[in-house]
């Protein structure tokens, strides 16, 4: 056997692969299968290479599990033990479910990143072909330069890699489908589950408390989708489910956030007015009283929806900036960054001062301290404004990003030691722009950013 020293986590016998009986091994870093009676593996996949697993629907005659690799290939295992096939398969599935995400992050990202870069960037692809395929340098060396190039450009990126945020609409992506017999079917993916966990840590906690001891995973999610917690517009009629506690926790979290107040005094509606009229004075506006007693069912359902949206958005936002730390830090974070006591009225808090000064600044009335910007030289502004590139709302780059990038390059160039390579430096940039045919009038933002990225990667190459 290839590596007996490896830790074997699970052994499943009577698993057929390509109509051959054999044994499936789940090890610390890979999954492997060997035909019966042979002492070698004919199938072996590192977990890192596996994109996902798929299982055959319940009730099918054949109980199968399929592994899909990043390369697009797949391997199917058929659990053939008559008595315990289903159990075997589920055990395998659950173990894989725990194992795969661990490897996924690390390997996947890198691989996907490389893939993406090559696909999106013909010049890089050409370079890759010239250098790696023709064996001038090895692939590792190539990527070491390339990935290093990204990291070197921005120290901030190296130190805290920006995590991918969560889509605000992830709950909307779980579209229920009717399964034909009075039931609803929710399709959950690992991504969605992760999004739910990251956004609602309370649900994650419930999950780890209850699964798998009290509930199976399936039961857990079924209850989740049935709960009032998920359907927040329904008013909680008092039914107890495991998620009612989550709702309470959310409520508490929201309250503590509200109590803490806001840092920016300019958005603090509580201190907006110097003097509200004394009690009893003023035109009595016929606002409906906010006490719950007077509210109709519809009204309180409406305000529940509003609360839910505010909460959801706040949680999604917080999940994006949490960077994987414990979610409960939120509270201490908001209070500590302020760093000044609010009680003293004699002392103007710095935040306030800065915000006020920002608010009264007229930058265009001042002569100095304006960053130089470079405008696009548009020959046919109509084409710039109308197309032909469809606007991609998801990948919006603000003009500020571009300005920053350009400023960065300028800065980089200023600090660059004048030596011979500098000549190549400029030439490289010119070549890149030429190769991308940027003489054409329509340039969209991603093209510019892309051009800058290519340029920077070349700078690193030249430096080496």
């Amino acid at each position: 056997m290839a590596s007996l020293s490896e830790e074997v986590l699970l052994v499943v016998k009577k698993v057929r692969q390509r109509k051959q009986d054999g044994t499936l091994y789940l090890m610390a870093e890979r999954v492997a299968w060997g035909p019966e009676g042979k002492d070698r593996f004919t199938v072996s996949h590192l977990y890192a290479d596996i994109r996902c697993q798929k299982i055959s629907p319940d009730g099918k005659a054949k109980i199968q599990l399929q592994l899909v690799l990043h390369t697009g290939e797949s391997t199917t295992f058929h659990f053939a033990n008559e008595s315990s096939a289903l159990k075997d398969r589920d055990a395998t599935k659950e173990l894989l479910q725990q194992l795969l995400p661990k490897f996924k992050k690390k390997a996947n990202k890198e691989l996907e990143e490389k893939n993406r870069m090559l696909q999106e960037d013909p010049v890089l692809f050409q370079l890759y072909k010239d250098l790696v395929v023709s064996q001038v340098i090895s692939a590792e060396e190539f990527w070491a330069n390339r990935l290093g190039g990204i990291n070197n450009t921005d120290p901030a990126v190296v130190n805290n890699k920006q995590e991918v945020g969560i889509s605000g609409a992830f709950l909307a992506d779980i579209r229920p489908q009717t399964d034909g017999c009075n039931g609803l079917r929710y399709n959950l993916t690992a991504d969605i589950i992760e999004s739910i966990f990251r956004t609602y840590p309370a649900v994650k906690q419930k999950y780890s408390e209850n699964v798998p001891h009290n509930l199976t995973e399936k039961e857990f999610w079924t209850r989740f989708f049935q709960s009032h917690y998920f359907h927040r517009d329904r008013i909680n009629t008092g039914t107890q489910d495991i998620f009612s506690e989550c709702a309470k926790q959310d409520e508490k979290g929201l309250k503590s956030l509200v109590i803490q107040g806001v840092k920016n005094p300019l958005v603090d509606l509580l201190s907006l007015e110097d003097k509200t009229l004394d009690e009893g004075y003023g035109i009595c506006t016929t606002l409906p009283s906010t006490s719950n007693a007077n509210k109709t069912v519809k009204e309180s359902s409406n305000s529940a929806i509003i609360k839910r949206f505010n909460h959801h958005s706040a949680m999604v936002l917080a999940a994006g900036s949490r960077k994987g730390e414990a979610p409960t830090d939120q509270a201490s974070e908001t209070s500590s960054t302020d760093g000044n006591s609010r009680d003293s009225d004699f002392f103007q808090p710095p935040v306030k001062k800065v915000k006020l000064q920002e608010a009264i600044e007229y930058e265009d009335l001042q002569r100095e301290n304006r960053p130089k910007t470079v405008a696009l030289n548009l020959k046919k502004s109509d084409r710039y404004a109308h197309g032909p590139v469809p606007l991609q709302s998801q990948h919006y780059t603000t003009s500020q990003d571009i300005i920053n990038s350009v400023n960065y390059i300028r800065h980089e160039m200023m600090n660059y030691k004048p030596n011979l390579t500098e000549v190549r430096f400029y030439t490289a940039f010119l070549m890149i722009t030429k190769s991308h045919n940027y003489q054409k009038e329509t340039i969209n933002r991603s093209e510019i950013l892309h051009c800058i990225a290519v340029f920077l990667s070349c700078v690193v190459l030249v430096e080496r």
């Binding site: 004075y281 409406n302 001042q366």
Partner: protein
């Protein structure tokens, strides 16, 4: 730079100036020269505050005998603090240019918590505080009554000044008020009893003073020392306090009778509306209370509270309220209405009687200010139509001018979308869906922040619920996070901060908010915090309210302002406030979308401020949702180009040399749109 404005040397703490700023200062100076009042409209973001401060400070320095003080009133605490910050900047500029520390004393009262002692106000050259310190008689009497006549008073953000005036003179009385008042009266009686046993001389001394009457106050008013108090009418100053309420016990007895009468009035089963004279007749018929002692009530109570040396006046707020009501109702036979409602309209089964004593005439509260101070400037970004303010506030301005924002390229894209939300059709499924589609489409093309305003809170709640059911909100969430204003100020503040955070970190967000709400009145959405504002519907005030109906009637009878004209004016000023939230300067840009076809009508359009009307053209009228999206895309791509000072110079931004050229001065005189 140092400017020469018709011979006046003005220090202006910037290197460049907007033409409209110069023009504004010019009009302002003419107003001060004429020692009259002015109405000046200039959009926010054109440096109105610094123009005001620069000119008035320069004027004070040049003519210290003509203008002794600047009283700058603004509405919110942040506004007040901004003014102070700008003033600081101006003072630093003075110090730098003249090389001497100036001896200007400026004072800001930014919060009632740190309310200052009034001698300091008297000595300051500049006082910055909230409207209420001047317009609310209860506070004005404490803080502002000794301010010099030769002061210039500025009301900034004055588009709602009529409502502030009305609020400060209106009183609401509930059962709770009367119960608390009952307690107050009991406490008074006990205290009087105690003092009588220990220090009867004190009460005798008070009696003596009251026989003398309020002569002292009268002397003061005649010699013009004090700002007069509208709750202290002229007539009563000339008379002694009537015998029926002169002794402390009699007065307390009188209060009891009055209180019993009010209690009986609250025991109604149907809505009652009556005028002040009707009320006086009824109270005389039922409990024999005369008009005269009622008029002295407020002043008599103050005297009693002083005599009894009561420290915490706040405990006596209920009895103060009742006696203020007594004085007002017996003093003004016009301008007020009394409405007694036995229950809220929405909950007819729950008895909750309220007596509304509503002021319908804003000029009553502000009259002393116009009478006393030599120049009063009413200014804001939205004062259109300009002539309505002098009418409803009853004063004669010497200048009325509207300025617009000069721009080299338009940084505003205005879209009037032909959707309907008339009251009858606005619950319509199709209307709500169209609104939703508009927002959804915009969320896909507008970067960073979008703010959407609805006409009322209840309406917004319903729409949000429908959008939720229709799946529109889900789709919007794919593009941006959604935050919604609630009726809880703390909750909304948090939502606002999160909204800004989402705009800041690039995720983008939508804020759903309400016209006339706190957000629409006090929060700015500069730059990426508001790249588009959508106004869904026309924000008419809730017209079914009896108080509003009474006010409309009054406006029609007294000022010949037609009901519809006033309602439209009021709706338009709020709409303008909402959409104006997003454009806070020349380097800012944004879309203003009026999603209601009624905005295209001449009577609506005509009441919008000039700086909004200017952007309306044939291409922006009656658009479909698709056309709006196309226009927006085009506009946003153009705006994404950097703002360059060079392009602005000479047109919307001037150097001193450019300003002084003959041609430019000619042009500038045309900027002010006189009415």
């Amino acid at each position: 730079m140092k400017l020469n404005i018709e011979g006046l040397l003005v220090y202006f703490p910037y290197d460049y100036i907007y033409p409209e700023q110069y023009s504004y200062m010019l009009e302002l100076k003419r107003t001060l020269d004429a020692k009259g009042h002015g109405v000046l409209e200039m959009p926010s973001g054109t440096g109105k505050t610094i123009s005001l401060l620069s000119l008035i400070v320069a004027y004070q320095r040049a003519f210290p005998l003509d203008v002794t003080k600047l009283i700058y009133c603004s509405r919110t605490v942040p506004e007040i603090e901004k003014v102070v910050e700008e003033l600081r900047k101006l003072m630093e500029f003075y110090a730098k240019e003249t090389g001497e520390r100036n001896n200007f004393l400026a004072l800001a009262l930014s919060s009632r918590k740190n309310l200052c002692i009034h001698p300091e106000i008297l000595h300051a050259n500049i006082v910055v505080y909230s409207y209420h310190y001047l317009l609310d008689p209860k506070i004005a009497d404490l803080v502002s009554k000794e301010l010099a006549k030769k002061s210039v008073v500025v009301f900034d953000e004055a588009h709602n000044i009529d409502n502030v005036c009305i609020d400060s003179m209106s009183v609401n009385i509930t059962r709770r008020t009367l119960d608390r008042c009952q307690n107050n009266v009991d406490t008074l009686q006990n205290t009087i009893q105690k003092i009588k046993e220990t220090d009867a001389a004190k009460l005798r001394e008070e009696y003596r003073r009251l026989v003398e009457g309020l002569k002292e106050a009268n002397v003061a008013r005649e010699t013009d020392i004090y700002l007069s108090n509208p709750v202290l009418p002229d007539e009563i100053l000339k008379e002694a306090v009537p015998g029926t309420i002169r002794t402390a016990e009699h007065f307390v007895g009188f209060l009891r009778r009055f209180l019993e009468y009010l209690k009986s009035r609250l025991r109604v089963h149907h809505v009652v509306q009556e005028s002040a004279p009707q009320f006086l007749k009824d109270i005389f018929d039922k409990v024999c209370i005369d008009r005269k002692p009622l008029r002295f009530c407020a002043e008599r109570l103050q005297s009693l509270l002083r005599t009894l040396e009561i420290a915490d006046i706040a405990d006596f707020s209920a009895v103060t309220l009742i006696s203020n009501f007594a004085t007002l109702v017996s003093t003004y036979s016009q301008g007020f209405t009394i409405i007694i409602e036995p229950f809220e309209d929405r909950t007819p089964t729950i008895a909750n009687p309220v007596l509304h004593f509503s002021c319908m005439d804003p000029s009553i509260a502000i009259k002393p200010v116009f009478q006393r101070f030599q120049s009063v400037i009413i200014t804001s970004g939205t004062l259109s139509p300009l002539d309505i303010y002098p009418r409803i506030l009853d004063f004669r301005p010497v200048t009325m001018a509207s300025f617009t924002m000069t721009l080299n390229t338009f940084n505003v894209c205005l879209c009037l979308v032909a959707l309907s939300s008339k009251f009858e059709t606005r619950e319509d499924f199709a209307v709500i869906r169209n609104y939703g589609n508009l927002l959804l489409e915009m969320s896909a093309v507008v970067p960073d922040g979008i703010v959407a305003f609805f006409t009322s809170y209840v309406y917004m709640e319903n729409i949000v619920a429908s959008w939720y059911e229709q799946g529109i909100l889900e789709n919007i969430q794919r593009n941006k996070l959604i935050f919604i204003e609630t009726q809880d100020a703390a909750e909304t503040s948090m939502a606002l901060e999160k909204y800004q955070e989402a705009c800041e970190n690039g995720r983008g967000a939508i804020l759903l908010s309400v016209a006339r709400g706190k957000v629409s009145e006090g929060i700015d959405f500069v730059h990426h915090f508001g790249r588009a504002v959508i106004m869904f519907g026309v924000p008419y005030v809730y017209t079914q309210s009896r108080i509003l109906k009474a006010r409309l009637e009054y406006l029609r009878d007294q000022f010949q302002i037609r009901e519809n004209d006033f309602l439209t004016f009021d709706a338009m000023r709020h709409a303008a406030q909402c959409v104006g939230r997003a454009i806070r300067g020349k380097t800012d840009y944004g879309l203003m979308i009026f999603a209601d076809k009624r905005y295209a009508r001449a009577d609506k359009r005509g009441k919008l401020p000039r700086w909004i009307q200017e952007h309306i053209n044939d291409g922006s009228l009656n658009l479909t949702v698709d056309e709006t999206v196309q226009l927006s895309k085009h506009f946003l791509r153009q705006m994404a180009q950097p703002f360059r000072q060079e392009d602005q110079l000479g047109l919307s931004l001037l150097t001193l040399e450019q300003l002084e050229s003959e041609e430019m001065l000619q042009k500038i005189t045309q900027i002010a749109h006189q009415t």
